[in-house]
């Protein structure tokens, strides 16, 4: 892989994030205005100071007008993009590259999704006309394929597997209970999680991320300009995005216990950021826990746990809020909610808070005070076997 990256060349100088949840009283327009305004205020700028915008949304609007109209932008370039559940992160990546190239001085990446107006349970994605031969499975069903494959490969008994998945959901709810912006802000007992109605395979309702509305935004400038805006900029260390060849859907080699797209994206981002041992070097990670087995596999794909040991680490609390490497300290997709286009930027928002030591005390992670200065965000779009994946590494200090 030949991406040399843009390590320390751009920085985030302001961020905004709405509450995630069922915003019956707000449309996508309102959420965009809320997140953009919060990010402008955070960076100490106005909309006129932003030279170009990248808007990520999967289905809450088409074209740059989705943003320029509600914000009444003054004839600015707005790129609207979509890359499944990595949409928000893609907006961020492209904005960073524009600034790093020197073409743009100040950029905004913003993501939004308004899911609760659809009237359906779960996520609904419209597809182009087809021959009707694709199996129309729901998202929980597609990701539930991981659990029996993992159990089978590593000899984890199905009951033990359920305990692992329950532990992951429980942890994310515990964290979300300490986050005023989260969709689900209460702890949930393990028994409640384990006994929740089954959606697909081993997955109960509590194994699935929240369907929610929300928006999040970041203001990005060249690193050398960052201190004009804030004393505590967050530097971009590495950005990687992979669209896989969809090999797992057709090839007998894929065994449903890993996402090769994540492995490749992580390798690329770690190389750009100069990370050798992510578990030892990262202060925290915000990962795409769309369903509990996804988070389990992510531990191994991102190198946080050895192959076949992620489940033991999950049970041991390695990734708890007070664990060795906190994963999803803001509650993750599970408890914070998952408005598709906003999620990648929401993850960065938690990194922004934690690395700047601005997170509320009840969910402040200890690794920052202990001297770790790097955080990771990760997204996944699609399903096991055919997906896209994004990994970023950001940090509170430029390399010496």
């Amino acid at each position: 892989m030949a991406s040399s990256g843009i390590r320390d060349r751009v920085a985030i100088v302001g961020m905004g994030c709405t509450n995630f949840g069922e915003h019956w009283d707000k449309g996508a327009d309102d959420l965009l205005v809320d997140a953009a305004t919060a990010a402008f205020d955070s960076a100490g700028v106005t909309k006129d100071d932003i030279d170009a915008f990248w808007l990520g949304t999967m289905g809450s609007g088409i074209s740059g007008l989705t943003l320029s109209r509600p914000l009444r932008l003054d004839y600015k370039p707005v790129t609207r993009l979509e890359n499944m559940c990595a949409t928000g992160s893609e907006a961020f990546r492209n904005a960073c590259y524009a600034v790093a190239s020197g073409a743009i001085d100040v950029a905004m990446a913003i993501g939004v999704e308004k899911l609760k107006d659809g009237g359906f349970s779960g996520l609904v994605v419209s597809s182009p006309p087809s021959d009707g031969t694709g199996a129309e499975l729901t998202a929980p069903a597609l990701f539930s394929l991981l659990a029996p494959a993992y159990s089978n490969k590593y000899g984890v008994d199905p009951d033990e597997m359920k305990e692992v998945l329950t532990r992951i959901a429980w942890k994310n709810h515990y964290n979300g209970a300490r986050n005023p912006r989260a969709q689900f802000r209460r702890e949930v007992a393990k028994e409640t999680i384990a006994c929740s109605p089954i959606m697909a395979g081993q997955l109960g309702i509590f194994d699935c991320s929240g369907v929610s509305d929300g928006s999040a935004a970041a203001v990005i400038v060249r690193a050398e300009d960052a201190h004009r805006y804030t004393d505590k900029p967050i530097y971009v260390k590495g950005l990687s995005f992979i669209a896989g060849p969809a090999q797992g859907a057709v090839s007998n080699d894929y065994d449903f216990t890993t996402f090769p797209e994540i492995v490749r994206a992580a390798e690329d981002a770690y190389r750009q950021a100069g990370i050798d041992d992510p578990r030892a070097e990262l202060a925290m990670a915000e990962v795409h826990d769309c369903f509990t087995p996804t988070e389990l596999v992510i531990y191994e794909d991102l190198g946080f746990a050895e192959r076949g040991f992620g489940w033991k680490e999950a049970l041991a609390g390695t990734f708890d809020l007070d664990g060795e490497l906190p994963v999803n300290p803001d509650g993750g997709l599970k408890a914070f909610g998952h408005p598709i286009g906003a999620s990648g930027l929401r993850m960065l928002f938690e990194c922004w808070l934690q690395l700047r030591q601005e997170a509320p005390p009840e969910r402040t992670i200890k690794s920052i005070a202990a001297g770790r200065k790097l955080a990771l965000t990760h997204n996944l779009g699609g399903s096991p076997g055919e997906c896209v994946s994004f990994v970023s590494v950001v940090g509170s200090e430029p390399a010496a």
Partner: protein, 473 residues
């Protein structure tokens, strides 16, 4: 003259115990079972399954050039259904596929046309039969299919005689679009039908130059069981020559029943036996056949799981009556809070016809990797446009992983989804059908079956699903 060279049947997985109807409607006790097409089956898909069984045992080199499809319950009107069967069997485009649809009697129209024809012809008989809840058609009907391949070659049974009679009267009828048939008073039908059956019986025996006691197997089907019983009582055949009409176990499968009964006889008959098949429907038809020595080799060649007896025996009898009513459109249930299934678009369906209907993928000639669906760029070696088509409809495989989806829309939730790895390579993620969700496990052997995925916007979406491998242990 061409003759019958192969045959096959399809009896669906599900049976409704007639006692369930009695319990549900608080009516007098029912006896026996009836075969029930699953929620993802119709006459077209069942016809495909029966035809696959017939073609699997066809003599070397005999491929149908014509396909006649007879049913009283066509999936589409104003559009030929036989073309879907033709495509699902992977038959050459240069061939004739047509429906003979509308009535139970259409079955004999297809058989007669095949016998009179001069090119290899596949006759597919398929039917779904039911009526209003609590009625005789609901409990007495059955869903099944049969396929008969006619051509040159080692003929399994030679035609030695026959006779037809036609009569116009209102005994049973249905307006297009109605979900049930109407019948006149039963005694009227009996009075009208018995003389017609007797007439064709007498003429057929005469045409063959035989007497009733020379008949070794007499099977009678049609639309009027009371008339059939009275005819049989006076037919003059030896009592051991009377064949069970199978209505106690699978019900009367309408247009398919002729083929079902003939297949049942041929599964048992000895070389030299004389077989009489008589159908009572809008007149009567009788066909006399003599079984040849070829039947022995044919039976040895076939898979045990393909015999009618094996298909009947493998049925599952715990279908709940409300589920039956739901599948038959007699009970409208609250759908999940999910979008309706999408319907396939016509242009991509035609572009991908070999895949959608024929389950034909591609194999890279450069490295041998199989691709499902067919692809232009090889996943393994990257070669572009170096593919040859490869049909995998009859391939078996194993379950690599699976799930049970309780959220997806289905007339029979939950949806079982599996990832199948085929023997010899190739993988597909698809639905699994005709299986108890609690029994699915990684490593289970499966095969493919042609099904109706959904019906939306007036379009039946046909494609293939996995089912437990038949005849493999």
């Amino acid at each position: 003259m061409q003759g019958l060279v192969a045959y096959g049947t399809y009896v669906p997985y599900w049976r409704l115990d007639r006692q369930r109807i009695a319990e549900g409607l608080l009516t007098p006790a029912g006896r026996g079972t009836r075969a029930v097409a699953s929620y993802d089956e119709d006459t077209t898909t069942m016809g495909v399954e029966a035809a696959r069984v017939a073609l699997a045992a066809a003599p070397e080199g005999v491929r149908p050039h014509a396909l006649y499809f007879a049913t009283s319950a066509p999936a589409y009107a104003d559009k030929t259904n036989a073309t879907a069967i033709h495509a699902a069997l992977g038959l050459d485009r240069a061939g004739f596929a047509a429906d003979m649809a509308g009535a139970v009697r259409s079955a004999f129209a297809a058989v007669g046309a095949a016998l009179d024809g001069s090119r290899p012809t596949l006759v597919v008989l398929s039917d779904t039969r039911t009526g209003l809840p609590g009625g005789a058609d609901e409990s007495g009907g059955g869903d099944a299919a049969a396929a008969l391949l006619f051509g040159e070659g080692p003929v399994l049974a030679e035609v030695i005689g026959g006779a037809d009679a036609s009569e116009e009267f209102l005994e049973r009828w249905r307006l297009p679009g109605d979900d049930h048939s109407r019948v006149w008073e039963e005694r009227f039908g009996e009075t009208a039908y018995v003389p017609l059956a007797e007439q064709v019986w007498t003429e057929a025996l005469k045409s063959a130059g035989i007497t009733p006691d020379a008949v070794d197997h007499l099977a009678v089907c049609g639309v009027h069981s009371r008339a059939a019983r009275r005819f049989v009582a006076g037919a003059g055949v030896r009592s051991e020559a009377l064949r069970d009409d199978l209505t106690a176990v699978i019900g009367n499968s309408g247009a398919a029943h002729l083929g079902i009964l003939l297949a049942g006889v041929l599964d048992q008959a000895a070389p030299g036996d004389t077989v009489a098949i008589l159908q009572i429907a809008d007149g009567a038809v009788c066909l006399l056949l003599r079984v040849t020595d070829a039947i022995t080799g044919y039976r040895e060649r076939r898979e045990t799981a393909h015999t009618l007896a094996a298909q009947i025996a493998s049925g599952r009898t715990d279908l709940a009556y409300p589920t039956f009513l739901t599948w038959k459109g007699q009970l409208h249930r609250e759908p999940p809070r999910r979008p309706d299934p999408t319907s396939p678009a016509a242009p991509p369906s035609l572009r991908h016809e070999a895949w959608k209907f024929g389950f034909t993928g591609s194999r890279c000639v450069n490295c041998g990797t199989r691709h499902l669906p067919p692809a232009r760029v090889c996943i393994s070696c990257g070669a572009v446009d170096q593919m040859v088509p490869e049909r995998l409809a009859d391939a078996a495989g194993r379950i690599a992983t699976f799930t049970v989806d309780r959220l997806a829309f289905s007339l029979s939730p939950p949806v079982v989804a599996v990832v199948v790895d085929f023997d010899g390579g190739g993988r597909i993620r698809c639905e699994m059908t005709d299986v108890d969700p609690a029994t699915v496990a990684i490593g289970d052997r499966v095969e493919m079956t042609f099904r109706k995925i959904s019906t939306a916007n007036g379009i039946h979406n046909y494609f293939w699903k996995a089912r437990p491998a038949q005849g493999e242990s």
